[in-house]
Amino acid sequence: AAAMSVNADLRRERAAATFQPELLTHILDGGAERTRRRKEIEALVLNDPDFQHEDLNFLSRSQRYEQAIRKSSLMVMKLREYGIADPEEIYWFKSFVHRGRPEPLDLHLGMFLPTLLTQATPEQQDRFFMPAWNLEIVGTYAQTEMGHGTHLRGLETTATYDPSTQEFILNSPTVTSIKWWPGGLGKTSNHAIVLAQLYTQGECKGLHAFIVPIRQLGTHEPLPGITVGDIGPKFGYDEMDNGYLKMDNFRIPRENMLMKYAQVEPDGTYVKPVSDKLTYGTMVFIRSLIVGDSARSLSRACTIAIRYSAVRHQSELKPGEPEPQILDYQTQQYKLFPLLATAYAFHFVGAYIKDTYHRVSGDISTGDLSELPELHALTAGLKAFTSWTANAGIEECRMACGGHGYSRCSGIPDIYVTFTPSCTYEGENTVMMLQTARFLMKSYSQVTSGQQVTGMVSYLNDLSRQRIQHQHVAARTVTMRINDPTSLVEAYKSRAARLVESAAKNLQAELNHRKSKEDAWNRTSVDLVRASEAHCHYVVVKLFTAKLAEVSDAAVHAVLTNLCLLYALFGISRNAGDFLQAGILTSAQITQVNQHVKELLAVIRPNAVALVDSFDFHDVHLGSVLGRYDGNVYENMFEWAKKSPLNKTQVHESFHKHLKPMQAKL
């Protein structure tokens, strides 16, 4: 089955594409050279016999953990052997080794080591960094507790300073204070950076980070006073030992508090950190990664669903003719193409945030933090907006594959269960949207008090101009040019402005009812989330549109323009109520938008397969029988199924144990 040629349908699809997929791949990678290097690393990993293993779908959770830890150890050695040190290249390498899946050393590499670098004193770095770099110390980052996640101030773990012994005494005083969820904590780590409420001289000084040894070096047994284990099976993340940690009067030396910023002196005197804005930086960075991950996960699901839809034939469109590819049905295109456009949109948004982050980080090192609050607010919202959309989109892709999408061989269930927690981790999405809303409300009140605002919210300045001209927003209908993305950006801008304004007014009305500030905020929060969504939606459309100007190849430009139009128009069609209610667009214009969406589906149809080919996922990385590059789906489903654990023996043992005795009795 291995040496089969490419399915004829897919060959035809690829031949009919109007552009060169490689050129688009280069744009996604950020240049031809980067594509080359990515593929080089990909080949390095995928051709390495050490990284081969049985299909993960057939392994138990313990076995998957074992495979992952085996590969992780090798990965760390080989990265150093090959001298790969660039963060992006490390990311690629890791992603190919683990096929885009989490692994037990994620928190050691992604949180423990970086936190040491940024928050440890030079003395602490001497003690911990090299052993951690050499994996003598394997660490995790223990923040989330059973009772509290995104709301950090609510964490209950305590670290009480004892000046008599110069130690901190760590405790998990309640069930809810047990650390719960940290990756790599359950089985792998022997150290953890623990976030705890610091008490010194009888006062609580808020959350601080402590390096806590949890397992004996050598035997790996938990230390006295430490209860640690795995939190049990989850929806996904089978290879990750998310863990729990309970501490009972566990003592660590004073020097184990990370003291680059805040400090506790030997006598217990507390020294405050200089600025807390710096922690924004890490959050922005991680949330920008989630935006990129939204794009990649949705791209993988689209690749699978679109290739499969080009291979699968079903029913009839024209009486008497052969069964058509299901990709020819309007309903199927309507499910998949807007998601394809979304995947591209999110790629560009992810790249934009990453670039902005690097630019702003440059400013931070020179002491300029002025752009950070907006970037922080923007990434919070975009993290939520893109992960919610991708989460739903992955499921739509799976459903578009019908029954076979439900089989693990489709690969989409795995993409979904791996991706869906990003709606929760690094900031629960609704809470994130409300953070963005807080920034929007602040900007709005600045505008109403006569100040100008800058950046992505500058459209709010227009609101005050209109007020001066006594012109209500609702009275303005946009002259929409349906084939011009710039004109559509204007429509989205008006929608965001109108929803921000309406939320602000509702908030004010609640406040006027003599409600407390918090109560009024809560009673407006559904409106506030809608306002943030509209703002993020505008940003995405704007960034996608801006990207078009950078594309030089005419054929690629044409196809991306169509995707951008589809993204923008589909969003209007889906949220028609907002545009109608605000009077931004008329019913006739909405009808025109709906019609044009359908026309664009037909326009994009010939390039659909080439557009997912451009994502350039290797089959091994894609992990899907339905999405194989060669399209030989059915043969390989059969080959795959034969390896299923239930097929290990011809007659299952339960026949002898249960069935036969029953038949004998009846």
Binding site: G149, G577, L646
Partner: protein, 658 residues
């Protein structure tokens, strides 16, 4: 003891929970029987599901077979029979975690499609489990589109046998439950050929495994199709047939028969086939779709009353997350939908029973309407409830992601219902076909079935609401739903006609309108659901606060639908921009009102802790303690070989290499 945060929620219920439970069950006597069945099943350790989240596919399958076998004994012990009042509660009590479900489908298809002689031969064997049956329809290459199936059954007059083949890879039977490992027999659907002529799809009884040693019969290749998102306990299977010969008598022949000389005889109406599909689509709504949503709501709402996070007022205790408007906006509409669909299920059941009566009298007039409604509602309800379960899952934050919350398995199970028994988009298009046909007929003055008469009586004018309170009037919102359904159907019909008149081929025009057609079909079902909910509320008894709370839920269901789809209602100005603000205000007000009864409303679903099988959703609300204790039982907390094999070398031996 009960967590005080949950206890306090129960003290303030505005209605009698027990009375609402009885209403859902259809009477206090039904509640009593159901509870007795649940008690009998749950007190038996063989049926325990406590360890299921820790088990592998092989272990799950074996447990399901063991339960199925044990169930026979249990039924005998308890005196439950297939026709008794207890029977329908058994599946719910087991949460479906049992093998041989397809055995019943096997039996039903023989009863419906078989001749009297065939019934007399096969049903007793199946009843006594001398054989285990399955139902092999779906193939690798074809699902909902039955005409496309590729398995063949060629009649050989010389030997009076059918020769069955799966001539190519895509013809292989794929997905049938119980077929991978368990079944000895199956009903195979195949294209019938006689003397080289194809007569279409027909059902055949085929033995696939030996009754002695369970080995595969000659010419048969069968096995398990591998891991899925859920249903690990079921051995969905594949089946290859190579020149498998079966006697002429094995073709199920109530409606069609092949005579010994190869003459093909059709008898009775084929329409009855539609009736079987209709019956399956309606019957799955309750157990497979509503129950999971109700369970998910129970878990998410109880957990939201226990979980405290952040502060609403400075200086006060952290607030229950159920007090956040955004959390209410996620969960309460799901509760309202669960009730709305419970009542629509009653409506469909009743319609179905009437239809069945008519068919017994050889009157098939009700079939098209029944088929359209069952298809449309199967799609709308499965889609809505699946989305609802996922919302509940995500509303539980990180802990929802743990299998121990019970939510991931509810989700992965309910989601299959969007595909099986007819892919939803295709079903909606079938409903749409019926709507367009009826719309044309109604406009031509011809009579149409009762559920679509509204298509003819188009009223003009706009929504008369003047204040937000007007939107709590069922007449106001039901009219609005009706208006949208009529508008979408009539505009799509017009569009279709335009296209056809402009020279587009009929099938092409249809494909070009399918996105709109799907929307029209959904709007139709949504309208009927709202109307039915409002009418049901009207008829409820006013005592014990039941009618009042159901009225709130009905309002919420209706207004949530408008709020989440404002474009459809604003489009032609039926609801104005100002009125839409009233809808939003009324809708958000309702959340705060229903919030007070949220826990009692899910308590009324009356799920035991064992049936929820959730660390977050138990009745006593001792969430964290349970989560902690349960996690410690995970097999991953036994010493894993990974340490010795990989971790130890990683932590020690590799150091030199770094």
């Amino acid at each position: 003891s009960v967590n005080p945060d949950l206890a306090s929620e129960r003290q303030t219920a505005s209605f009698s929970v027990e009375k609402l439970t009885a209403l859902l069950d259809g009477g206090t006597e039904q509640t009593r029987i159901r509870r007795a069945v649940v008690e009998a099943i749950e007190s038996d350790p063989v049926f325990s599901r406590e360890n299921q989240y820790f088990q592998t596919q092989n272990e799950r399958y074996e447990a399901a077979v063991r339960k199925a076998v044990h169930l026979q004994k249990k039924m005998h012990e308890m005196g439950w029979t297939e026709n008794g009042p207890e029977y329908k509660y058994i599946y719910r009590a087991l949460s479906g975690d049992v093998a041989f479900l397809l055995h019943r489908v096997f039996m039903r298809s023989i009863s419906v499609l078989g001749s009297d002689k065939q019934i007399a031969k096969w049903i007793p064997l199946a009843t006594q489990h001398k054989l285990i049956g399955s139902y092999a329809q779906t193939e690798l290459g074809h699902g909902t589109y039955l005409q496309g199936l590729e398995t063949t059954a060629v009649f050989d007059t010389a030997t009076q046998e059918f020769i069955l083949n799966t001539p190519k890879i895509s013809a292989m039977k794929w997905w049938p439950g119980d077929m991978g490992r368990s079944a000895t027999h199956t009903v195979v659907f195949a294209q019938l050929y006689i003397h080289g002529k194809c007569y279409g799809i027909h059902p055949f009884i085929v033995q696939i495994r030996s009754l002695q040693d369970h080995s595969l019969c000659p010419g048969i290749t069968a096995g398990d199709i591998g891991p899925k998102m859920n249903f690990e306990h079921i051995d969905n299977g594949y089946l290859l047939l190579k020149n498998v010969r079966i006697p002429r008598e094995n073709m199920l022949s109530k409606f069609c028969e092949v005579r010994p000389d190869g003459t093909y005889v059709r008898q009775g109406s084929q329409k009855i086939n539609y009736f079987t599909m209709t019956s399956v689509r309606i019957s799955l709504i309750s157990d497979e779709v509503l129950t999971p949503l109700m369970k998910a709501c129970t878990i998410a709402i109880r957990y939201s009353a226990v979980r405290r996070q952040s502060k609403l007022k400075p200086g006060e205790q952290e607030a229950k997350i159920l007090d956040y408007q955004t959390q209410q906006e996620k969960l309460l509409p799901q509760v309202a939908a669960a009730y709305a669909f419970h009542f629509i299920n009653d409506y469909l059941q009743e319609l179905f029973n009437r239809g069945y009566g008519e068919i017994q009298r050889k009157n098939f007039d009700m079939l098209p309407e029944l088929h359209a409604l069952s298809s449309g509602f199967k799609a709308v309800i499965t889609q809505h409830c699946t989305a609802g379960v996922e919302i509940c899952l995500r509303a539980c934050g990180g802990h929802g992601y743990s299998l121990l919350s019970g939510l991931p398995s509810l989700y992965t199970k309910i989601i299959a219902s969007c595909i099986y028994e007819g892919e939803n988009t295709i079903l909606l298009l079938q409903t749409a076909r019926f709507l367009i046909k009826c719309f044309m007929a109604a406009n031509a003055g011809q009579p149409v079935p009762p559920s679509v008469t509204y298509l003819a009586a188009v009223k003009h004018g706009n929504c008369p609401a003047k204040s937000k309170l007007d939107f709590l009037s069922p007449d106001i919102y039901t009219e609005a739903y009706q208006h949208v359904a009529v508008r979408l159907t009539s505009s799509t019909a017009a569009k279709l006609q335009d296209l056809i008149q402009s020279g587009v081929k009929k099938y092409d025009a249809w494909n070009q309108c399918t996105v709109q057609l799907v929307q029209a079909a959904k709007a139709h079902c949504h309208y009927i659901a709202v109307k039915n909910f409002a009418e049901t509320v009207e008829k409820l008894e006013t005592k014990a606060g039941i009618q009042k709370i159901m009225k709130h839920l009905c309002d919420l269901f209706a207004l949530h639908g408008i709020f989440s789809n404002t474009g459809a209602f604003l489009h032609d100005g039926y609801i104005s921009a100002v009125q839409m603000d009233m809808v939003t205000a009324s809708y958000l007000d309702l959340l705060a009102v229903i919030r007070k009864d949220a826990v009692p409303l899910v308590d009324a679903f009356d799920f035991t802790d064992k049936s929820l099988n959730s660390a977050l959703g138990s009745y006593d609300g001792q969430v964290y303690q349970r989560l902690y204790e349960w996690a410690q039982k995970s097999p991953t907390n036994q010493m894993s070989p990974a340490y010795e094999r990989y971790l130890k070398p990683l932590l020690h031996n590799t150091l030199s290499k770094l």
